[in-house]
């Protein structure tokens, strides 16, 4: 039969409940007596709090910072030299540093009443000058956002290898200034938690919509100053994460404190407005790039100044510096580059903290390097794909250590580029007129990236993070009735781990997929995992499930061999049963023997029984590199500035695919978010630090008519360094669209001599670029 194991396109186990509206998201949880929390948030970007007054009669229902003695701020330390620490309080006491910062917590029987109460809390502010952009924030002499800082940067890094020689002799020099807008992440379900005191267990139970339940327990214990053993974090169904739900939030600390101290049940459900204005900020970078090349467009060197608009505080545990570290390390991308200089500036600003959003820094750096390649191609008068192809790391060079010491484990990058060039039908596009029947300008663009996935201990330790992932663990058990139970501390957030982990277990045990249950994301009954982030789940937890299942498979074989009176090596799994020749027993027979009829087993039976915990990390900590090339074909209406994506092709390689359907889903879903980054999504701030996108009318999420029917082809180069050759695929799709689409737009606008260098490439920006280019055209005429 077509296997249900690794490589099978099986349907998802998680679908059934969602298709009947029976999923259980955090807002669906009901605890008797549960009260609801709403937060009073700062209306101003930067101010001293002069006075706080609770409404009379509600002293107990309104909580200020001083009501929470002993609660520590969220503090993310880092071992990187020069890194500056920020204290991010659950509730601000003396000073607020961004619009939306939490100041008071109001408790009421329902959300509406809690919001009524918020309106009655009187806070007086003395406004301070806000820092609303990188330029101001990194300027010398600016007053730092945090006391005790010597300048206003969380971190400044620099990397330099071999640039001086290059600068002297490079015949082609290209300079670019690029920027990417601030974004918010928008899982369709926002953040939220229900916290309650479980008298029987003597535990604070926290149901929080998170990607990282075990880490949240550590973080909560640190902030609340209570033992981890009395906290249980159990994540319910999570309506999308994308990075937003892999950090500890002030609201989580505050509501957990409330449940702990009041020994009751409380919930806070983030609404869309809170999400848009107070949380989930990401993506905002500014680049100054100087690229050096030879006459054919071969990279000789790259010099970059990268500023990240980090917001006011460091998030835990990923810090305000992960973005810059990733930017600096990944800017060279899939290219063979020998000389590289990069300075990064992690600038503190009066905006919500920067969080690691799908692709972390790489959508920005990919946009930057891919526009650079196209600019070089233009400078040397060649097609961009040719220049790109010649610069990509060749398959024969694998494994390849790049200029920043990243170890590209395997793959054929040029082949993926050639494949998307074929898919998009580049030659036909180039043979046709550059304008369509409606007069729109047509263009095609490419982008190629590598995605470090499942990077492990050493990499995170290098980034100086307070919490470094080690071995992931999984527990696998054959039940008395012959089913398989998998428990893992990672969590499923839509990426289908209940299915793919079962497929891996099936691969080892051949227990039918329908009989495999996966339990995830509960500190009370799953082994430790740092969680679902960094495209690591399938490699790390998948590896752990593989290890544990293999152990259990061996024990199943031993018991089956005894029941069938053969040697274990004569046992094989087939058609959902256990065979020795033609004789067979069922998994249930084995389970029953161990649990219910041990009298049938020999004395020397393996005492581990039918359950095992496996631990796993790949042979290398440096990550396994997925990669892909994207090609976009667009029509640009030069009169309205509107862009239509006519075709979009992706060729990706994430190593061995556990479930090709899910790989497609992750890739396309990521690419859809990438289109948002490229064309639509933007969270602007005014000069006062006021966020201007507070509704989904202001902040445009791409819908079905804005997105193309993405076409995908796969390459499958198993990693030599991971179990089953797996690589991560969760983030990759989001990385390349901005590069591919803006290159396509600029290709389309080439006859007008216009180019866009800021994303999203909104109609206004496109029209402005065309208008700015017009004088040149007129001059030429």
């Amino acid at each position: 039969m077509a296997s249900e194991g690794i490589g099978a396109r099986v349907l998802r186990k998680e679908d059934a409940r969602h298709l009947r509206g029976r999923g259980q998201f955090v807002g669906d949880i009901r605890i008797p007596g549960m009260l609801e929390v709403a937060f009073v948030r700062s209306p101003v970007a930067h101010a001293l709090i002069r006075e706080r007054k609770k409404p009379a009669g509600f002293e107990n229902s309104v909580i200020f910072n001083d009501d929470m003695p002993g609660v520590l701020p969220i503090t993310t330390r880092s071992s990187i030299p020069g890194y500056k620490v920020s204290d991010y309080p659950a509730l601000a006491a003396e000073r607020v540093r961004f619009v939306g910062e939490t100041i008071a917590m109001c408790v009421a029987p329902n959300r509406a009443a809690a919001e009524d109460l918020c309106e009655l809390v009187d806070i007086q502010y003395e406004e301070l000058d806000p820092i609303v952009n990188c330029a101001t924030g990194r300027a010398s002499g600016v007053k730092p956002l945090h006391d005790g800082w010597t300048d206003n940067l969380f971190l400044r890094t620099s990397f330099d290898q071999g640039m001086d020689e290059v600068i002297a002799k490079a015949p082609v020099v290209v300079e670019l200034e690029l920027s990417t807008a601030r974004q918010t992440m928008h899982p369709m379900e926002g953040k939220g938690l229900v916290a309650w005191w479980d008298h029987r267990a003597g535990q604070l139970v926290v149901h929080t919509s998170t990607q990282v339940p075990h880490m949240i327990r550590i973080g909560l214990a640190e902030c609340l100053g209570i033992p981890q053993a009395i906290i249980r974090v159990a994540a319910p169904d999570v309506g999308g994460g994308f990075g937003y739900k892999c950090m500890l939030m002030p609201e989580e600390v505050a509501v957990a404190w409330l449940a702990y101290t009041r020994q009751g049940a409380f919930r806070w459900i983030e609404d869309r407005r809170e999400h848009l204005t107070a949380g989930a900020n990401a993506r905002q970078h500014e680049y100054k790039i100087k690229a050096y090349a030879d006459e054919r467009g071969r990279f000789l060197g790259l010099d970059a100044d990268v500023a990240v608009d980090c917001g006011a505080y460091s998030v835990w545990p990923f810090s305000a510096c992960l973005e810059a570290a990733q930017a600096s390390g990944n800017l060279p991308g899939p290219y063979d580059l020998k000389a590289y200089r990069c300075s990064t500036f992690s600038v503190a600003t009066n905006k919500p903290p920067f969080a690691p959003y799908r692709g972390v820094a790489r959508p920005g750096v990919c946009f930057a390097i891919e526009l650079t390649i196209d600019a070089i191609a233009k400078a040397v008068g060649r097609e961009a794909w040719e220049v790109r192809l010649e610069n990509l790391v060749a398959a024969s060079a694998m494994p390849y250590t790049n200029v920043t010491k990243k170890f590209y484990d395997s793959g054929n990058y040029p082949a993926s580029l050639l494949e998307v060039k074929r898919m998009i039908d580049f030659d036909r596009i180039r043979s046709e007129p550059r304008r369509d029947a409606k007069g729109r300008y047509l263009g095609v663009g490419f982008a190629t990236y590598t995605e470090q996935s499942a990077h492990g201990t050493k990499v995170f330790a290098q980034w100086g993070l307070p919490l470094v992932p080690g071995f992931d663990q999984a527990h696998v058990k054959l039940t008395p009735d012959g089913a398989l139970e998998i428990k893992a501390g990672i969590h499923t957030i839509g990426q289908g781990l209940e299915t793919t982990l079962a497929q891996i277990a099936h691969e080892q045990t051949r227990v039918p997929l329908k009989d495999i249950r996966v339990v995830l994301g509960d500190t009370a009954n799953t082994p430790f995992s740092t969680g679902a982030y960094a495209s690591r789940g399938i490699v790390m937890t998948g590896g752990a499930v593989s290890v544990a299942s293999e152990i259990v498979a061996g024990r199943i074989k031993s018991i089956a061999a005894h029941l069938l009176q053969v040697r274990p090596e004569d046992i094989s799994f087939r058609d959902g049963a256990i065979f020795a020749g033609e004789a067979s027993v069922s998994y249930e027979d084995v389970g029953r023997a161990w649990y219910m009829r041990p009298d049938q087993l020999p004395d020397d039976v393996d005492r581990g029984g039918l359950e095992a915990t496996g631990a796993y990390k790949p042979q290398i900590d440096s990550g396994v590199f997925s990669y892909a090339s994207h090609a976009a074909y667009v029509a640009v209406d030069a009169e309205t500035g509107l862009v239509e994506i006519l075709d979009y092709a992706i060729c990706e390689d994430c190593g061995t695919m556990v479930n090709p359907m899910i790989v497609d889903g992750q890739t396309i879903g990521g690419a859809a978010q990438g289109v948002g980054t490229a064309l639509f999504e933007e969270s602007p701030y005014d000069d006062n630090g006021q966020p201007l996108a507070s509704t989904l009318i202001d902040y445009l999420l791409p819908g079905p008519t804005e997105l193309p029917r993405f076409r995908i082809s796969h390459m499958e180069t198993p990693s030599p360094y991971s179990a089953h050759g797996l690589k991560g695929v969760g983030e990759g799709g989001a990385i390349a669209p901005a590069g591919a689409l803006v290159n396509a737009i600029n290709d389309a606008l080439a006859p007008l001599n216009a180019a866009v260098h800021t994303i999203p490439a909104s109609p206004e920006r496109i029209l402005a670029a065309i208008a700015a280019a017009k004088p040149t055209l007129n001059d030429a005429a």
């Binding site: 059934a16 999923g23 807002g27 619009v99 007086q124 005014d686 201007l692 509704t695 902040y699 993405f710």
Partner: protein, 385 residues
Amino acid sequence: MPMLNVSLTVNGRPAAATVEPRTQLCELLRENLNLTGTHVGCEQGVCGACTVVVDGKPQRSCISYAGDCEGGSITTIEGFDDDALMDELRVAFSRHHALQCGFCTPGMLITARDIILRLGETSAARIREELSGNLCRCTGYVGIVEAVEQVSKGKAARDPKAPVAAIEATVASRPADTVRKVFAPAPRPTVATPSAGTSARKGWSSIEQRLTVGFSPDVVWDRLSDIREVSTCLPGAEITELDGDRIRGKMNVTLGPMKIAFNGDGNVMLDAERRIGRLSGGGRDAGSGSTAEGEVEWRVLPGEASDSLIQVSLSWRLSGRLAQFNRAGLVQDVIQRLASIFVSNLEASLKGEAIGEQSVKSLGIFSLMWGVFKERFLRRTRKNT
């Protein structure tokens, strides 16, 4: 607080609840009736996660309220358990990987089912258009569109007119009484050249308006240094106390359904020598939790012959909920109107004409605002501004 007794039919069964009138339909379903399959994604009517069927038609349950659903028949995702078409969609959604996290799925399915019922077999392009009111952040819609397209195959469209309540066409009781010209006159081009957003002060926006009047600068200044007179010309403004250079007052703004009231105090500056007057203040609208500062400045300059030129500039700075929209043009339009009315009222006042009550009172004007300046919102004095 008034409570409502609401009776309605939910998933084919009678249901009743006693709730506040402000209760959203999605809250009623989720919190009172425990039907948590209806998800709440934005409460802004955009994302579609909360879509349910009301009286046969998909609708947003986040922008419907308890009262207006009285007597209605609601079907939530849970009510489609035994629905044959929904079964087909469920199978197709799973097969085409049309869901990942599952949060948008109930709303998506309800919309998908309605598309097929209304349109029958449909093109992918039309399905995309029809699905555009349901956002999914996980799938990129590819699987969803494929699933709906597949299920729609071979299905017949419902007669679009059939389910709609018949509306009798009768002869109009009387014809439209407005006589129209073939060509409407062009609107008067704006006199002013507003320079919104280009204020010298950081974080402030301003608009400037000029007016030429046939009085000498001295006469004009004389009138414009009467602060109460000036304030009557500013729509929505009301000075309640005037004490030296301190004023206490109110600024009422009605903008569509928004009624904003800024209460507070501010400053008056009158420079007779240079003929410059300035009214400034700042404060908070308690309802929206928004704070604002505003300033009106008027300068009287000699014009041609014995005329005067009045130069009026309005500046503002907003923070809080009212400031947090990405449609700055709308605010500018409002301030522009405020400036225009102010100027024409000044003109009327100078000519000794009565200022129209309408333009003072009921014209909706956003905000130039005095606020509870000292008491509730302290601003550090900026030396450089």
